[in-house]
Amino acid sequence: MNKTISISRYNPEQDSQPQLQTYQVVSEHSTSVLDALLQVQQQDPSLSLRWSCRMAICGSCGVMINGIPKLGCKTFVRDYPEQLVISPLAHFAVEKDLIVDMSPFLQHLSAVKPYLINAEKSLQPHKQTPAQLAKYQQFANCINCGLCYSACPQFGLNPEFIGPAAITLAQRYNLDSRDQGKAVRMPQLNSKNGVWACTFVGFCSEVCPKKVDPAAAVNQGKVASASDFIISMFTP
């Protein structure tokens, strides 16, 4: 079946702003949006896009599909019988066509020190019970696709906001029984661009392709931040 799709095109050397261009693709029952984009790239090799695994693991093919952030590989053309408009992820600077500059997102990620911080220099493995694993496991499923940042109006309004994925990752390590780095991460979460910049719009959790529920993590971070503040009042 032939299907018309519109793709936002932007060539930094020629255009002052992105514009929509329409293409014809052959769509079958199993054709994903990423498949459709790759078909277009066959017709017009100048189309730029990021992709890799085609199975919702690498998190690189995030685009706006009819204005909603989604992974191209996990979205099917058949679900869009009317119009299908594909544009680059919102709230990020557009480098070319569907490629955005993810560096603000990556900087926020590294700012929360998303790795195990543990002073113990032991060669023995750190044992963890299933209950200790369950505390953070859901938040560990993030694939860093950045869809939650495109869904977040607070990040759109204030790019300094650490944002859903980074705060989720901070929570993921703070809740890990093997980690001792909470004290190093809390100043970031407590800051004005930390958890308190979130107003629980909750759209980040709606669009998350891995059901991580970043909105829950951010708002659990508010509880952690508040208790951190109260404890600090009573400790010299």
Partner: protein, 129 residues
């Protein structure tokens, strides 16, 4: 901070002031936040009532008449439905922030607690008045 190499050529999208009109999810979010407006009116009514009570019977009676005015009743009905909507959203979000029990159970428990407290207050105040 954006990558300096691309900073000059990249297109920087500007967020429209009407961003919240673009999607139903955002509209419902704004509705949730806007529930504070009719509630603010109700709180002013309540404070005015307390003040009237302290000013004696004439002022109290005039407050009662004011509260029975159609537009005041209408605004307070709006405040009531807004608070119910806000409660619904709050009760759904709370189990995600404090996952103490399965979410569905917590939502039911919160509504039950609300109805029990509300019914208790109505009975208590009804008996007292």
């Amino acid at each position: 901070m954006p990558d300096p190499k691309s900073a000059s050529t990249a297109y920087k999208p500007v967020m429209s002031r009407h961003w919240w009109l673009q999607h139903r999810y955002f509209q419902l979010y704004m509705l949730r936040e806007a529930t504070v407006l009719p509630l603010l009116f109700f709180i002013i009514c309540l404070l005015y009532g307390l003040f009237s009570l302290s000013q004696g019977e004439v002022q109290w009676q005039s407050w009662l008449t004011f509260m029975a005015t159609p537009w005041v009743v209408l605004l307070n009905l709006l405040a009531f439905s807004a608070s119910l909507y806000h409660a619904k959203t709050f009760f759904e979000l709370f189990p995600r922030v404090m996952p103490l029990a399965p979410a569905a159970l917590m939502i039911v428990a919160q509504w039950l607690a609300t109805f029990i407290v509300a019914a208790g207050l109505i009975l208590l105040l009804g008996g007292w008045l």
